[in-house]
Symmetry: D3
């Protein structure tokens, strides 16, 4: 039995709240159990220098964690004067994941900036961030269609992410913090709604893992992603 | 008539939500209309080097604004690698305001760290931050009493803050963003529940102000603070 | 009796030396007793990006303290790689104070940069800096008139600053370092020659202060500012 | 046919030169074709603060690229004043990969610091770095045994890394720069000599990839790693 | 004839004002014509970590230039967040020059920190800084003797510095800014009172220089240093 | 006898390997005994802002040391976030030395960037860097001639550098690390092939040095430079 009393293949309670803040073109509060991430998508009518005049768009992401989102307070990155390696790794992952499903040519010469800020952390902040960011970006792109700036939404399909891991020899889905700290292998999987992989990042925290374990984890992730896609669709249907 | 249809002496709708996040010793979401600030108070059983061994406590504050808390996205300070002068000014103000009402000797050799993070901005983020931080710190100190680490709460009295300003020649209370941008004089007042001033910061944005205007603004602030104190007491009474 | 043997309403010996250095368009050494601040005003024929092409000018200020201006040596900010929050707070205050009395449209598309560097500190460095900077800026703007670049000096009126505080229950004017360290309430007041307030910044270092105390302090500041204005006028009259 | 005339399952010419520099406890120049990385392992008789007194060791890694290792000169990170997100991601990966095969308790309270500096880049610098670092660390740990500080080498088994990718629909092994730029999917695989995975990082650069493609890539990586392990063993056998 | 109407072998007017500021253990304003540098020597009763417990002292130096010490305003290093290469080069030179004449063992486990801040620049700021710092350090060390902490002054002999250069084919002493900008070869020479070299730094700005030119410049520097030593002695004799 | 068994006037074994890496326009590995420095010259078809449109070129240099180039590992400057004063001093010296022999007008509006990275250090890294950089820059400029972008190589003559020092009272040439640590006086001399000085930097590490010692050191440097020029010519002759 898992610490949270969940079945191995069971996601935590997922909640997706659209329009959580009012200024951003897309704004979503996503909750994976006690993990809560505010995802906003901002649209700017310009692109970074290296893309200027090329008629193509750009999408990038930034990630942060409020100092007391965690059990013990972490130093504020703005006060330390630099983002940690972990932060940079995560924000690069979020950016790549969303770029994989948005047609940059169809977007035109404008930029989408995603901000994922963790209000409360209980494991899986990066997978929640990607899953929520997808909804926020979709919402922002819908706005461009509504305002007549685009004819169709340039997001080709939904993308979501979930973690899987081997805990005491059992493959489990959507690890919370106690499981994350205890597991031997931790894998983050990013997949599209059509069942293709965008990112697979498996790490042996303790013992290295076998090909059979890898396969079991990927099976589990695939079912979890499908459930997350359904919840994303529900959230986007509510207007 | 004000843009928000409020009377000159009328506060915005104020909401104080305790326990907004679960890890911090004190955690409050405070809303001054559309301005929303998450205030947490963290207690650490150590003090900065310059106080070690002196038997006295410390309290400090940090402030941040999520990049898309505002109408147009602001650069993330962690990514820029430094906090702006405005951020530092505000976090120093929050710290001084709370230190004025907490008995550092009674606190003992431990530190309270306040984090005020603006989720959504519509003017008055620093006054909301101080007012919310007071509740979060009180909550955290109550916890120390409950756990037997202190016999009484070392906060001597409540403290709250509000902005006042001259808009088109009229003194008004609790400016929102449209008023803040338009006003000639902007004053932030921090007062204790017993009606004493902790900080008075008046700035002539346009024309310098007279002693009579200053007096009218202070009168207005005094009534506003009393209302805020009542709301803080209500919030603390709910357990 | 005050440590310096002054009466409560008595300023320290104030000296304003114009042309202290030769390169700057305006250069003033101001002394408030043992506090000595070198204030220069530099005129540049360009404005920051956000004002380019708008036909209006800009004025900004920077502040620094030599490492050994103080009793014990402070770390050099250039070597630490960042300016402290205190430094940024002060230089923002100096800039706002001077912008309040200079007509930016009349200045035209050029920029005045004030540098206030504390050579020796004995309390009140920010008020000395504002008072001295006013003379340096006036001198620099006079130069623009003399060179035919402007027809009249765009400084509308003089501005000066002084500190006041409650020391042992007595309101006193122009605190030196021993008083500054000991006082309960410290207030910096910036006023124009016509007797209007530009900034009022009162801080309760120890106990919060009453409205009556605030009023007594403002009365004291008003007389002190008038004396400082007279000394500024004298300095500007000497050519 | 591949640009380099290699078969899909063929590694580039791999060369491992031990003792490339003289000061480090372990020093290896590894070449994957034109990619050349200098890997040194430094042993320090102390551990970071968080491990002090726990009787366990530590291993960490840093990565850098000489400015002109690449086709066009890249800015020097030391001059820019920060390491890029890519650099941090890679050095964290190298550290995790090596920690997975070294017994930290057996190492004792000392630290191994790996430095991987790319002298010339032609794709696959991170996989070359891990493969070379393994030899350098082994060499350094052998030295501790030789000096009587350890009785057996605490590296449990060898670890190596290789990239695989889908290029024009064909799974290929050990991508060079032209392939890396052109491929749809890029995967870096880190495995132990016993055939277990330490890290699997697959990224869809263009189109997302299927489970079947993932499997084909993992098969290819598995054979490549076995070849690299053999070359590592040869290098370590030469003394 | 030189722009300043000086003879080739003639120093500018040199003035050394002791006790220019009141807090530092040694405080000297040195003027080489229009170049004015405030040199302070601070004594701290501790040494940097690498010397702790070794019974020996340390001396180090920092250098800065006020933004408007020069013809056109230079950016403030504290605001830019780093010291320029030129600044670091100069402060390292000042430190080495003074360490060469102070007996670190006799100093005991304490540290002298020199601060040289340029109030006004007209060429030769580093040579003025060294010459002035020597007097300030001597003054500070005399203070340690007076307070009974040392029995004799640990400065072995005086040290001074001067620039020499080839201007239009003529070797000249103590270059001011117009000469410095125009000269082909610039050399800074640091010598002790006993006529030995501490530093010789010659740089060909335009054409490389011959051995004969080098010799002529060193001759000129030697006479200039002797004059400076005399002025240092005069300044130290005044009490 | 010297620790390396060399005669006082004897250089270490010098090796100059051209084309050490393949991407840079000029790439040289230079070895002064065990000191090994990789020098690359990169040509960019643009100049820094302050030279744009002036029809003249620029040359600049950067220097770095791999963390484990030395006996004990040094902190990586990119990780520390800043270059040391020593690094900046050296890279400024390399830049000045090469600018002295390249005709910037003949170069045209393009920039040469030198990177000198120390792979292994055993004393004299800056002199090896200058000597190697000269060959790398020549190689790069030859390439511009070959590609028809220039008609003649704008390097006027070769430049080389060597260290000399007083070790136990004897003047010796080309100090290695053990001598460098032990010597009283250390001098770095940069000279052109025509025997003129570009830089002379003498530093008394222990006792100050006499004019006679200075002369003996310069004599020694002059013969060493001539030998280095011959080796540079040999290296450039090999194609």
């Amino acid at each position: 039995m898992r610490p949270s009393q969940r079945q191995p293949h069971q996601l935590r309670d997922i909640r997706i709240t659209r329009g959580f803040t009012k200024h951003a073109e897309g704004s979503v509060l996503i909750e994976f159990g006690d993990t809560r991430v505010l995802c906003t998508a901002s649209v700017e009518e310009s692109v970074p220098g290296f893309l200027r005049g090329k008629g193509t768009g750009w999408l990038t992401a930034e990630y942060g964690m409020l100092p007391r989102a965690t059990h013990t307070r972490g130093a504020r990155e703005a006060a330390k004067g630099k983002q940690s390696g972990r932060t940079q790794e995560i924000q690069r992952l979020i950016g790549r994941s969303l770029r994989a499903v948005v047609d940059m040519n169809a977007l035109g010469e404008r930029q989408v900036i995603i901000d994922c800020d963790v209000l409360q952390a209980d494991g899986g902040t990066r997978t929640a961030a990607i899953t929520g960011a997808c909804v926020a970006v979709h919402e922002a792109l819908d706005g461009l269609v509504r305002r007549g700036l685009l004819t169709t939404n340039p997001m080709r399909e939904l993308v979501a992410a979930v973690s899987v891991g081997m805990v005491d020899g059992v493959p489990v889905l959507d690890l919370d913090y106690p499981e994350d700290s205890a597991c031997d292998t931790d894998m983050n999987v990013v997949m599209t709604a059509s069942g293709h992989f965008v990112e697979v990042q498996g790490t042996a925290e303790g013992h290295a893992f076998t090909r059979a374990e890898l396969n079991a984890l990927l099976d589990l992730a695939t079912t979890g992603i499908a459930e997350l896609n359904a919840l994303q669709r529900d959230a986007l249907a509510q207007d």
